[in-house]
Symmetry: C2
Subunit: 332 residues, 2 copies
């Protein structure tokens, strides 16, 4: 999702810090669980969440190492959610390989996800210093919000009418809560002032909404080569993503036609293309770009306010901005 934006150096630097700690955490699992968990991690993502956690510690003036337990916890939670989401969405491929459930069975997928979920709390509470306990407490809130977002997303499939507010609340939970946690957990571990933690958390929440909006655009107009998913994958799955919801609520002729099309259980070969045209005609594409831009700007404003804080390291704020550019992709 990173368009032509250069890959920030922090991703490699954070990976070198965090990967051994993740490997150590997985190494503590029994052999039955280690195999599917290690299989899943063999094809890693970009590591943006742990990188945000490391920068979050550095932004508060702490050494990078301070952010590591938070980075490990967030990466474990993120991957627990991927493994379970693939079961929920019946997705048999991720990153061009069979997903855990597709390779090992649904039961193993369920249990492997559970193991990573629990391991995240184990990583933070093994040595329960006050900042780590605070990080664990914040994690309970972030994960609950993520799970609530996931369950709203599932419920949308059954609902004919979803408002943009409901859709944004869902995405704030499903994507925003964990990104907000990633951008603040390092500062929590660094025992930064609550205003710093709050500002970083706000930054992450806004990055989350902007990222998700761009991801929703890619789910309809993205190049399959780049997204690793079939063209128009979200339309095919009848997702009520932001562009679709904007179009459905647009009170245009396209809205009615799209609602009609979405209510058909089976589409012929032209269904995805027809839906794509209707979402655009209903203003879904422009509206989502505007939304992405607005929340990206809010994210940058949150960073700008932080830069004025005496406790905050300005060079790291710049690194956070570059990483946000990379995450969001700036394709708008």
């Amino acid at each position: 999702m990173s368009g032509g934006v250069p890959v920030p150096g922090i991703l490699k630097r954070a990976g070198e810090l965090v990967s051994p700690a993740i490997a150590a955490a997985l190494g503590g699992l029994g052999s039955e669980l280690r195999e599917p968990a290690e299989y899943h991690f063999q094809s890693p993502g970009k590591g943006t969440r742990p990188a945000l956690a490391i920068l979050s510690a550095e932004a508060a003036g702490a050494p990078s190492e301070t952010g590591v337990p938070g980075a490990v916890a967030i990466e474990l939670i993120h991957n627990f959610s991927l493994i379970h989401d693939d079961i929920i969405d019946n997705d048999a491929e991720r990153r061009h390989r069979p997903t855990v459930w597709a390779k090992f069975g649904i039961g193993v997928g369920v249990v492997a996800g559970d193991a990573l979920h629990n391991l995240a709390y184990e990583a933070l509470l093994r040595d329960p210093t006050p900042p780590r306990v605070k990080a664990a407490k914040h994690l309970t809130k972030a994960v609950s919000a993520m799970i609530a977002g996931q369950s709203m997303d599932m419920a949308f499939e059954e609902k004919s009418l979803v408002t943009l507010d409901e859709c944004l609340a869902m995405e704030q939970g499903k994507t925003g809560a964990l990104l907000s946690y990633a951008t603040s957990v390092g500062a929590i571990l660094a025992e930064a002032d609550d205003s710093v933690v709050g500002g970083l958390s706000e930054f992450g929440a806004q990055v989350g909404v902007a990222f998700q909006a761009v991801d929703d655009l890619l789910g309809i107009w993205g190049d399959p080569e780049r997204t690793g998913k079939p063209a128009g994958a979200d339309l095919r799955e009848r997702k009520k993503s932001v562009p679709v919801v904007i179009a459905l609520n647009s009170a245009t002729p396209a809205a009615d036609e799209l609602a009609e099309l979405y209510s058909h259980p089976e589409w012929d070969a032209g269904g995805v293309d027809a839906a794509r045209v209707l979402v655009e005609a209903g203003g879904g594409r422009e509206g989502t770009k505007l939304l992405a831009r607005t929340h990206y700007d809010l994210a940058v404003s949150a960073l700008d306010s932080l830069a004025a804080h005496p406790e905050v390291v300005d060079e790291v704020i710049e690194e956070l901005r570059l990483l946000a550019d990379f995450i969001v992709g700036r394709d708008f």
Copy 2:
């Protein structure tokens, strides 16, 4: 599983203390998750785990209320594991009703279990006093052991040779770890001496093994009216439970015949009865009864040692013994 053993009064008393707290925790879920979660809890179990947690606090001289956050956490974790186990085992009925996944779909079952898992940590860390943090830290270990046990159980299905040691390690994880947590978390919250926490934890671990052994006997010889499952359910599912593993390792002619029978993918109408006879002929029934008795006696010994401790309330120790009798059922 309680045979003719009278129902201990603590179950009702603990239920009255803990149910409102569980209801409050579930009430914080979004409506999409509250529905399946409340559906699951509408048909409650006996509540033995929260009762153990309350007695554990009282045994350490604390008021009953001290044990409540631990009781809530354990009940949430236990029910998360039931909801996920039903998906893993493809069980469509529990307590004579459709299971969560059977009623709401696999996706909802996965997410509802995840929500309860996370809510348990939220319940303990909402107000992170040192004893609650210690309780949360112990919970990470107990849940990891439970998940490891579950994954071993699944792996046994693929293994032709399972030793009794492996089988007991699996059951200690799958059942014992959470019971051991239940019998000790109240004392942790009461800030009892480590020797008291350790003794109570040992008591729970032994009760867990004895209970599981009796449960394994019921899975083969139990009355369907009483167990709520079809006769010989564990044999039908080719479970490598303790009686089966004892028989398979018995070096008798029955062992070979049972191994042969277990390797057949399909059984005719007489398969379950034939397997039941072979398990008994291979010493599986007597061996499991002996094992249940041995671990029950070890549980009682652990309690007897605790009674000598000056910090421990002797009347509560007697209540713990009665509750252990009820849990294990004493059908041996």
